[in-house]
C-alpha cells in the first residue's frame, strides 16, 4: 500500500518533471528563435567569427607588422620568468 503510494508519487514526479522540461525547453526554443530573428533584423551585426573553445585564444588576428614587438615581449617575459 505504502509502496503503491511511493510508486504513484514517482510516476507523478516523472510526468510532471518530463512535461515541465519539455515545456520549458520548447519555450526556450521559441524565445531563442524569435530573439535570433529580431537580432538578425534589427541589429544585423557583422558576423562574429567562430569563437574558439578556449577563452584565452579569442584575440582577433592582427596584422603582422608588430612581430618584432611580440618577439621582444616574449623575450622579456621569458627572462623575467626565469629570473624568479
Amino acid at each position: 500500500m505504502q509502496d503503491t503510494q511511493l510508486l504513484n508519487e514517482g510516476l507523478a514526479l516523472m510526468g510532471l518533471g518530463m512535461g515541465f522540461v519539455f515545456v520549458f525547453l520548447t519555450v526556450l526554443v521559441i524565445v531563442t528563435t524569435l530573439m535570433s530573428k529580431a537580432i538578425g533584423r534589427f541589429f544585423p551585426e557583422p558576423v562574429a567569427p567562430e569563437a574558439p573553445a578556449r577563452g584565452g585564444a579569442r584575440a582577433q588576428a592582427s596584422q603582422g607588422d608588430d612581430v618584432m614587438v611580440a618577439i621582444s615581449t616574449a623575450v622579456h617575459r621569458y627572462r623575467r620568468r626565469h629570473r624568479r
Partner: protein
C-alpha cells in the same frame, strides 16, 4: 614508557583498520587508477579518490565533525553529557559501544542545527576538533557553493553558438532527460519491490545521475540526499567517463546505417549579440517559470555572460581557470569525505551504481529516438547520432556522436552539430533538478 609505545600501536591504523576501511582504501586506489590510467574524468576522480582514502584512515577522523569524533573516542562521562545535550536517553545497561553507536547515528541523522552546535561545542571544549575533510565539506558542499561556482566556470567555458544556430536541438536535450525520470522510477520501483530502501528524495537524487552533469548531481544530492552524495558523485563521474563505452552500442542498435549517414546542413554563423542575449533570455525564463532552478542556471548564465559580453575578460579567465581549479580541488576532496566505509559500503551503493548505468542508457536512447521523431516530422535533416549527445557529459558525448558518425561516413563531421544537444542537455538537467527541488527540497 612501555605503555606509551603500546598507545602508539593501539592508536595505529593497522591495529584499528576495519575491513570496510581497507576495502574503501582499495576503492580509493581504484578510482585513482581509473583517473590516471584510464583518464576517467581525472580532474574530479583524482581528488575524490584521494579524499576517499583520507576519509578512511582509521582513528584520524578527517571526515568527522568534532562531535562525531567525540562520540567515537570520548570517555563515558562526556558521552553522557552529549546525550543529555542532544536530548537522548542512553540505556545504562547497554555497553559503551552501544552508546557510541547511538550517538553516532543521531549526529549523522537529522538533528537540529542548534543541538548539533551545542554537541560540537561540548566536544571542542573537551579538545576534539572538526576533521579537515569535514570542514572542506561544510564550506564547499553543505553550503551549496562549490557546485554552483563550478557551474559558473562551466558556463564561462560553454559556447552556445551551435545551439543558437540550431535551437531545435534543445528538444534532443529535453528528451535525453527521460533517463533522469526513468531512473527515479526505477529507484522507487526497487524500493516498492523491497530490494532497496530509497525514499522519494533519494530516488530523485539518484535519477539526476542520468543528467550526466557532475555539479548538478552534487548540488541536487547535497540538498535532497546528502547521505548518498558519495555514491552518486562517484557514479556520476564514472559513467560520464564511460560514455564512449556505454553509448555506441545503443546508438548503433537504434539507428540504421542510412540514418547514421545523414549529412546535416552547415550551421549558420551566430552573431556576438545573440550569444550575449541568450544567457539573459534563459535567465529571464528561469525567473518567470522555475525559480527553484535559479541558483544552478543563474550561475551558469552568469558565467556564460561573462564569457560572451567581452568586457570582463579577466573575470571570465579567472572563472575558467584559477577559480574553477581551486574549487574543484576542494569539491573533490569533500566528495571523497562521503566515501567513509560505514556509509558507502551499503547495498544501496550497488543499487545506485546499477541505476546510474541504466540512467545513461535510457537517456542516450531517448535522445536518439527523439532525433528520429524530429526527422519524421520535419524537413530539415537531423542525424540521429547527435541525439545521444543530449545527455550532456560535455564534451565527451558530442565526441562520441562524431566518432560513431565518422565510422559510417568518414567525411561527415557531426561534432559541431552535436554540441547543440550537448549543451542543451546541461540546461535540461538543470531544469529537471529545479523541478525536483521544488517538489522535494
Amino acid at each position: 614508557m612501555t605503555e606509551k609505545i603500546l598507545t602508539l600501536w593501539t592508536g595505529s591504523g593497522l591495529y584499528n583498520l576495519s575491513l570496510g576501511q581497507a576495502v574503501m582504501v582499495l576503492v580509493g586506489l581504484l578510482l585513482l587508477w581509473l583517473a590516471m590510467a584510464k583518464k576517467f574524468e581525472p580532474l574530479l576522480l583524482v581528488p575524490i579518490g584521494f579524499g576517499g582514502i583520507l576519509a578512511n584512515i582509521p582513528e584520524a577522523g578527517l571526515a568527522l565533525s568534532a562531535a562525531e569524533q567525540a562520540a567515537h573516542l570520548a570517555r563515558p562521562a562526556l558521552l553522557e553529557q552529549m546525550a543529555a545535550t542532544l536530548q537522548l536517553g542512553l540505556d545504562p545497561a547497554a555497553g559503551i559501544d552501544a552508546w557510541r553507536h547511538t550517538l553516532t547515528e543521531v549526529l549523522h541523522g537529522d538533528v537540529s542545527p542548534a543541538l548539533l552546535r551545542a554537541a560540537n561545542d561540548m566536544a571542542m571544549d573537551a579538545g576534539f576538533a572538526h576533521g579537515m575533510l569535514y570542514q572542506f565539506y561544510s564550506v564547499a558542499i553543505a553550503s551549496g557553493i562549490a557546485p554552483l561556482v563550478i557551474f559558473m566556470g562551466v558556463g564561462a567555458m560553454t559556447d552556445f553558438g551551435p545551439l543558437l544556430a540550431n535551437p531545435r536541438t534543445l528538444f534532443l536535450g529535453a528528451a535525453a532527460q527521460f533517463g533522469i525520470f526513468a531512473t527515479l522510477l526505477g529507484a522507487v520501483g526497487m524500493s516498492a519491490m523491497g530490494w532497496m530502501d530509497f525514499s522519494l528524495n533519494q530516488a530523485a537524487a539518484i535519477g539526476i545521475i542520468g543528467g550526466a552533469d557532475g555539479p548538478t548531481s552534487i548540488y541536487v544530492s547535497s540538498i535532497l540526499a546528502p547521505e548518498l552524495l558519495g555514491a552518486i558523485a562517484v557514479a556520476s563521474y564514472s559513467y560520464m567517463a564511460l560514455v564512449p563505452l556505454i553509448q555506441p552500442p545503443i546508438m548503433k542498435a537504434l539507428t540504421s546505417k542510412r540514418e547514421r549517414e545523414i549529412v546535416m546542413t552547415q550551421l549558420r554563423p551566430v552573431s556576438k549579440l545573440e550569444k550575449i542575449v541568450f544567457p539573459l533570455a534563459l535567465l529571464i525564463l528561469v525567473v518567470l517559470f522555475l525559480p527553484d532552478a535559479a541558483p544552478l542556471l543563474g550561475m551558469f548564465c552568469f558565467g556564460n555572460l561573462m564569457r560572451e559580453c567581452g568586457v570582463v575578460e579577466r573575470l571570465s579567465d579567472t572563472a575558467q581557470n584559477a577559480l574553477i581549479n581551486i574549487v574543484t580541488i576542494f569539491l573533490g576532496l569533500s566528495v571523497g569525505s562521503k566515501l567513509m566505509a560505514d556509509r558507502f559500503l551499503a547495498v544501496e551503493t550497488l543499487g545506485i551504481l546499477a541505476l546510474g548505468m541504466v540512467a545513461f542508457a535510457i537517456g542516450t536512447a531517448c535522445g536518439i529516438l527523439m532525433a528520429k521523431l524530429m526527422n519524421a516530422v520535419s524537413r530539415m535533416p537531423i542525424n540521429p547520432l547527435i541525439g545521444s549527445a543530449g545527455v550532456s557529459a560535455v564534451p565527451m558525448a558530442a565526441r562520441v556522436s562524431n566518432k560513431v558518425g565518422l565510422e559510417s561516413n568518414p567525411h561527415n563531421f557531426l561534432l559541431m552539430h552535436a554540441m547543440g544537444p550537448n549543451v542543451a542537455g546541461v540546461i535540461g538537467s538543470a531544469v529537471a533538478a529545479g523541478v525536483m527541488i521544488k517538489y522535494l527540497g
